[in-house]
């Protein structure tokens, strides 16, 4: 069990390093998880777009242009979501 001070010093340093907490390891999401995430991200944006369009139509009486316009905007927003999820800009690709 005897060790030189140098060896012991190394051990102490290692223990210190271990102690300083590392950032949580990024969870690797499965292919299925990614697919579900992509599906909900896209669908959610579409739904929000349609609902907004519907409200705007009712509010401004622009039926049916609002809903059509916002359907496309929702689609675009859905792809923006997908793009952000993919590049990890939004959240490091988790979920």
């Amino acid at each position: 069990m005897s060790q030189t001070p140098d060896e012991l010093g190394q051990k102490i340093k290692e223990a210190r390093d271990k102690q300083s907490p590392k950032p949580a390891a990024a969870s690797t999401q499965s292919g299925g998880g990614k697919a579900l995430r992509a599906a909900t991200d896209l669908a959610a944006a579409l739904v929000v777009g349609v609902v907004l369009g519907y409200w705007i139509d009712r509010w401004l009486g622009t039926k049916p242009f609002g809903i059509i316009l916002f359907l496309f905007l929702g689609f675009a927003a859905g792809f923006l979501n997908l793009y952000r999820a993919q590049t990890g800009q939004n959240d490091k690709n988790k979920g």
Binding site: P23, F70, N81
Partner: protein
């Protein structure tokens, strides 16, 4: 065959009314209470000894604590301390809902969109309020990516707003869909197993196959229960970070 959706039907235990609203104590409420009690017991009793060398339960409690604490620190840095109890409670209520739902004949309250939706909307609303309170009107620059040609602005702003609003919807639908599909699958295969019992001896052996599949699926569902709660906690941290830092 009983509908596999039967397990998601909410059944009142004792009726209760508040004004015009029906707030009956249901089996969903029961499992929420169980989740709160179990979480509190786990996080209190297991660390009661405050042992320096933790036992198994204390280890679990500390692991949960450190997972969530790590998340808040990673995304929110020092600011994270303030939001940590909130994120932790959210994580635990989702995790407990997912896990308790795996017990046969129990109820998975996280499989209901109203529950996950309320949680996600709450997070979303809180993050937005924190953002507005912190940055005042400047908060809305969140919807305006920098370095954009003037012509694109009227197009991009609604898209960004839709994208922002769609986040809680996506989050809650995903959690709810995960829980619902997983539990339905388990139920379907289990029912298939059970129905094979009435067949001849030779075919009974075939019943082992779906049983094995179900066992494997159970393990998978445990993992998914944890991952979904983790995802919920991460996204909460991300919404808060976006609101606090405005990229």
């Amino acid at each position: 065959m009983q509908s596999p959706l039967e397990q998601f039907v909410i059944k009142p235990i004792f009726p209760l009314h508040l004004g015009q609203y029906d707030i009956s104590f249901t089996q969903s409420s029961l499992w929420m209470v169980v989740a709160v009690v179990l979480t509190t017991l786990l996080m209190t009793l297991s660390v009661r000894g405050r042992a320096l060398v933790p036992g198994r339960w204390q280890n679990i409690a500390e692991m949960l604590y450190e997972v969530v604490f790590g998340l808040t620190r990673e995304y929110l840095h020092e600011e994270g301390r303030k939001y940590f109890p909130f994120v932790f409670s959210l994580f635990m209520i989702v995790l407990m809902g997912n896990l308790l739902g795996l017990i046969p004949y129990s109820f998975t309250y996280t499989s209901h969109i109203i529950v996950t939706g309320a949680l996600a909307l709450f997070v979303f609303g809180m993050a937005t309020l924190v953002g507005i309170w912190k940055h005042k009107l400047h908060f809305f620059s969140l919807f305006l990516p920098s370095g954009l040609p003037m012509l694109m602005i009227p197009l991009i702003i609604p898209i960004e707003i839709i994208s922002y609003l769609s986040r809680p919807l996506s989050l809650s639908v995903r959690l709810c869909a995960n829980m619902m599909m997983g539990h339905t699958m388990l139920k379907l295969i289990a029912a298939f197993c059970a129905s094979l019992v009435f067949l001849s001896v030779g075919l009974k052996l075939v019943g082992i196959i779906p049983f094995v599949v179900n066992t494997a699926l159970m393990g998978l569902e445990l993992l998914i229960a944890f991952i979904q709660a983790y995802v919920f906690a991460i996204l909460t941290c991300i919404y808060l970070r976006d609101a606090i830092e405005l990229h």
